[in-house]
Structures are given as structure tokens and as C-alpha cells.
Point group: C2
Chain length 371, copies 2
């Protein structure tokens, strides 16, 4: 299997280095993941995730308290941002900052600022993406743009981006501000690539990877660097963690792509084929098309159906059948698991701390998630 068997032994030591007085909320994602893992019989993973949740209980509390400062309302732009932010999210990126910094000297107030910044950048991209893709639903609720309008969502995204940069500046951790500006630049260029291939079916694996490395993996890479630098790790250790971030980022997107075809719309908040209807080719569809080119006609019909209309169910059925026949889901899962194995291998060069072991658990959880 892809996951090193190095468990978490007797559980984690207490991780309290901050004095948050708020009640730490249960981390929705870990909770959900641990249930999924339990359901599937991965009791080892479920147990380790529960332990991880306990380990990071206070860190998550500090994060939520600080993140909550941005939930102020008062004008249409803040309201638009708050509409998205109150709906939580998986907090994958903050979690990565926490663990990376804990591989080093720990997660302090500077780490909190970096974790909040990462989640704000992620949220900013969601706000702008929903305007660009005319997305109606986000996190199981109406997208902010449908409630407060496109204009408010555009400015709300701008605002969160600026807030994120202010946090990183305040944290003043060496190497984090310049690298975040570079990463946002990468994210924007990946969006450009994606825009240009919109509605085109000729995207290949390499093209997919180029977009995903820029759009998704780059921010995962940054959170690992930010945490590493906040924790005072060496450049070499930081580089290993960055490589880990790129790997889990690519795997994370691959699982997202799977969920577009196999996911439960109630859990993901997304309709079936939502990605391809936004003009984005997913890994399983690239593989299916590569192995069964005749599926192009049906795929084009689905990609071409207007956002409001329902998908042609006969065409959808034939595409799903081709996906099954070509083992495209298995191919996608194998690719994701390969990246997770690579991510876990990167950890070998790091000091063996509870946080290092927790990063292996997080990597495993990435390919087990259902939403």
C-alpha cells in the first residue's frame, strides 16, 4: 500500500503553545474523514485521524478564533465574503501550516497568521472562480455571487487577497511574503491556461498537470514552506515539505476530479459533471477519451449544455459507461496514490516528530476523502 505503516503510537503530546480562550470547534474535515475511513474499514486511519484532531485541537481553536475576525459584516463586500467564510471548509491548508511548523519549533501566533492567510487566499479564489464559472452552489449553499451579486464577489475576492497579504506581512516570517506573491501569480496563470482550454476536449495528462500544479498544488506547496519557515526548519527540510505539498496538492485535485464523477452531490455540494460543464477536463475523462475516443461526441454534448439545463442522461450514461470500461477511475486513483506515496517518502528526510507522522496521516486522508 501507499501508506508507510508508522502509525501514531501512543497518541500525540499536547500541542498547546498558544493561549486561545475560545472553545476549539471540532474540525469538520477530520471528523468527516475519520467517519469515512471507519466506514470503509480503514480503522487504523480513522483512529490516527481522531488522534490528530486531538493533537491539533488547540491549534485549530487558535486558527478559528483568528479567522473569525474576518467574519465581520457591514457592507455588501464584507457580507459577500462572510457568506462564504462562515460555511467553513476542509481547512486542509491551515492544517498543513500547523503540522509543518510543528515539525520544527511549533505553531505560534505567526503560524496562525500564515494559516489564516492560506485559507483567505483559497477563499478568494473560490469567490472569483464562482463568478468566472457562473457557479450557483458552493459548500452546499447558494454561491455568494447569487446572493450579493457578481460585483460584490469580485471585490470580496480582492479584499480577501489583500487581507491575506496583510497577515503574511504581519507574521514577518522570512521567505513567506515574496513566495506567496509568486504563488498567487502562478495560480492566476494556471487560471489563464484553464480559460484557454475551456470547452476543448484535447487537454492531455500533461496539460492537466500543468494547470493543477499552478492552480491547486502551488498553494499546498506554499503552506508547507510557510509552516517550515515559521518553525525555523532548515532550507533542506523546507524543500522536502514543499515537495510533499506539491504531491498532496496534485493528489487532492485528482480526488476532486473523481468526486465529479462518483461523488455524492449532497456531500460535495456539486452536481455530477459540474467540472466538465464548466469547461474543465478532469483526469478520468482525459483517460477515458484517450482509451475510447468515440466518447468525444457525448462528452462534447455534456460540456456544451448550458449551466441551468439538466445533463442529457443518455449521453451521461454512455460517458460513465466508458469511464468504467476504460478503468479511468482506477487510473486516476492509482495516479493519486502514487503522488501520496511520493509525498510520504519525502517525509523520510525529516526529523521523526509526532507532526511528521501526522503529515503521513493527512496524506493518506487526502485520497480517502469523499467531499
Amino acid at each position: 500500500m501507499f501508506l508507510n505503516d508508522w502509525g501514531l503510537g501512543m497518541g500525540y503530546p499536547s500541542a498547546a503553545t498558544t493561549t486561545a480562550t475560545v472553545r476549539p470547534p471540532p474540525s469538520e474535515v477530520l471528523d468527516r474523514l475519520s467517519r469515512v475511513s471507519g466506514d470503509r474499514g480503514h480503522t487504523g486511519l480513522a483512529r490516527r485521524l481522531s488522534e490528530l484532531m486531538l493533537f491539533l485541537r488547540e491549534d485549530l481553536g487558535s486558527f478559528e478564533a483568528s479567522f473569525g475576525e474576518k467574519l465581520e459584516t457591514g457592507d455588501v463586500v464584507r457580507d459577500s465574503a462572510a457568506h462564504l467564510l462562515v460555511r467553513g471548509g476542509k481547512r486542509m491548508r491551515p492544517l498543513c501550516v500547523m503540522l509543518a511548523s510543528r515539525v520544527g519549533e511549533g505553531f505560534d501566533d505567526r503560524g496562525v497568521d500564515l494559516a489564516v492567510a492560506a485559507e483567505l487566499v483559497h477563499s478568494a479564489t473560490l469567490l472569483h472562480d464562482d463568478v468566472v464559472d457562473l457557479g450557483d452552489v458552493r459548500r452546499g449553499a447558494p454561491a455568494a455571487r447569487t446572493v450579493f451579486g457578481n460585483a460584490a464577489s469580485i471585490f470580496a475576492g480582492d479584499w480577501l487577497l489583500i487581507e491575506a497579504l496583510r497577515r503574511v506581512r504581519r507574521a514577518a516570517v522570512p521567505g513567506t511574503l515574496g513566495s506567496l506573491l509568486d504563488v498567487i501569480d502562478e495560480m492566476i496563470h494556471a487560471e489563464a491556461l484553464q480559460l484557454e482550454s475551456r470547452g476543448r476536449l484535447d487537454v492531455d495528462r500533461e496539460g492537466w498537470l500543468q494547470v493543477v500544479e499552478g492552480k491547486t498544488a502551488s498553494l499546498f506547496r506554499w503552506v508547507m514552506l510557510a509552516g517550515a519557515n515559521a518553525g525555523g526548519l532548515s532550507a533542506e527540510h523546507a524543500a522536502s515539505l514543499e515537495a510533499y505539498g506539491t504531491d498532496i496538492g496534485v493528489a487532492f485535485q485528482a480526488v476532486d476530479d473523481l468526486l465529479d464523477l462518483t461523488g455524492d452531490a449532497d456531500a460535495t455540494g456539486k452536481a455530477l459533471f459540474a467540472d466538465v460543464r464548466e469547461g474543465k477536463m478532469t483526469w478520468p475523462l482525459i483517460v477515458a477519451l484517450e482509451r475510447a475516443p468515440e466518447v468525444a461526441v457525448d462528452l462534447a454534448a455534456i460540456a456544451g449544455s448550458p449551466p441551468g439545463a439538466s445533463v442529457d442522461s443518455a449521453a451521461a450514461g454512455r460517458v460513465l459507461e466508458a469511464v468504467k470500461r476504460t478503468e479511468a477511475i482506477a487510473d486516476c486513483r492509482t495516479m493519486a496514490e502514487g503522488r501520496i506515496a511520493s509525498a510520504v517518502a519525502r517525509l523520510d528526510t525529516l526529523p521523526d516528530t509526532p507532526a511528521t507522522r501526522a503529515l503521513a496521516t493527512v496524506a493518506a486522508a487526502v485520497v480517502e476523502r469523499r467531499s
Copy 2:
């Protein structure tokens, strides 16, 4: 008159501190302004503007050479940005950085980066504003969004914002990065205020000022601060220059408002009543409505007409007649001239340098411009 009579004496000394090898392009705005001033018989101002152009010839060349680096094309987002950037602009904000830094120790490479950053932030807001307002024309050409799509313009605005911040970070002039993040935050909140009052006619002078200080004046304030700090001026002198920036920013917007009613569409690139049709109340209309409330009906009709449709010419005629009858144009001009007088008075506390005197010329030019 509002302008101190302190002329420019024997012309400016040479201002070359950078070794730009490109041919400095004529500064379109100063050229145009100096023609306007000449036409109107302000030959003194015209002469001083010509001298100013000569004084800043090399600075403007350095600016354009550095700014041109961002004119790269290659993907739809860069193309979208370049489409706007190649069309030039008035370069008011870079000019302010040049002069403020020349009141101090001079305009060097750090100053160039700050000047480019200011123009990029300004350009980013234009790209996002055109998406928000569904603007079709910008700088006399089709708006980028009509050529490359809204999505590309949204990401292009994001990109220019990030590029601006990278430049400011590279310049590493104390006090400039944090203050620019604060200013962009102010600009976004002013956009929110404006969105909320969209299509409402009950905006008063105070409400107008609140939006304009955030949306327009804040960046003029920042360019003066940035130039002052790059030039090594004292905090006290920087504060005077910031106040100057706020004043000319407000006056600049007031003149913009005038041009919406009196401007030549060929020169401004904007149709008559464009602002109010985007839901923005302008100062002359606020005054007209205050003094002749019955004009509300016609104004509402104009504000409510769809972007594509032509304005009801009878309604437009009655509104323009009310504007004339209530002396709303004169009120707006008096307000603008008052702010310019205030701006010029701020300069009294500064060292008497050629750049200080040039700032008085720039202030005078703000209320003389026709586009």
C-alpha cells in the same frame, strides 16, 4: 485665483539620475494639458507644463521602459491586461511619485518601481470596474472584457494587483508596502459603498466625498507618500505631501464628474451620462438635485436605462437644463478649485525645490484637464 503665482523661473535643471537608454516618449497627458491650457489662454500654465515635461523627460522614459516590461503577451490573462496597458493613460500617479521623490533626494530605480506599482494598481481597478459596470469602452477603445471576456479581465486585474505588490516589495522603501495594502483595502470598501448606493439618487455631498476619498484620493495620497519616502523626506514633509495627494485626488474626481456632463466623448472615451447610468451619482447631479428636486424623475429614467440603449434625449435635455439653472457645474468647479488651493497651500511647508513648484503646476493642471 487658486494658483500661487510662483512660476518656474528659468526652467528646470536636468533630472537625469537614471541611465535609461530608451527614447523617452512624450508624455501624452502633459502634452494634451499644455495644449488645452494654451487654447484657453492660460499661457503661463501651458509654458510651465512644457517645462515640466522637459524636467521629467528622463524620469518618464525610465518609467515607460520599466512599465513596458508588463506588456508581455502570451496567454489570455496577460493579453487582457496588455490590451489596457498599451493604451497609455494620463500617468498622473507615476508623475506624482516622480515629483514627490524629487522634492527629496531624487527619483531612482526604487522610485520607478513605486511609480509602476501605482499605475498597475490603477489599471487593475479599471479592469475590475469595467467588469462590474459592464463598461464597453475604455480609453477610446473596446474594454478588455469585451475582447477577451469578463473572466480574463477579472484574473488580469488580480494579476496586476499582485505585480504591483511585487514591485513595492522589491523597492523595499520603508512604509510603502503596508500602506499600499491599507490603501487597496480602502479602495475596495469605497467600491462596496458605491455598489450599495448604485441606482439610488439619495447620495449627498458627504456620501460622495466618502466614496471618492476611498476610491480615488487614497491612491493619490499613497503615491505622494511613496515618493516622499523614496526621496528620504521627513515624516512631517511626507504628511504634507499626503494631504496634497488627497486634495488633488478629490479635485481630480470632481473634474471627472464634470466631464461626464460637459466632456467631449471623443477625448474622454466616455458617453454622456455614463457615470449615472452605471449607478454613480456625480457631484453636479447631487447639487442639481439638492437645488431642483423635481429633476429626480428624469434622472431616475436616465439611471434606469439599460447600458446598450440610448438615453431619452428629452429627459437628458431637462437634466442638463437643471444642471445649468442650479449652477451645479460652477459649484463643482468651485469645490475642485478649493481643493486645489488647499493642495497648493500644503506645499508651503516643503523645501522650495523645482519639484515643489512643479507640484503646484500639476495641481493647476488637474482642474484644467479635458479628458
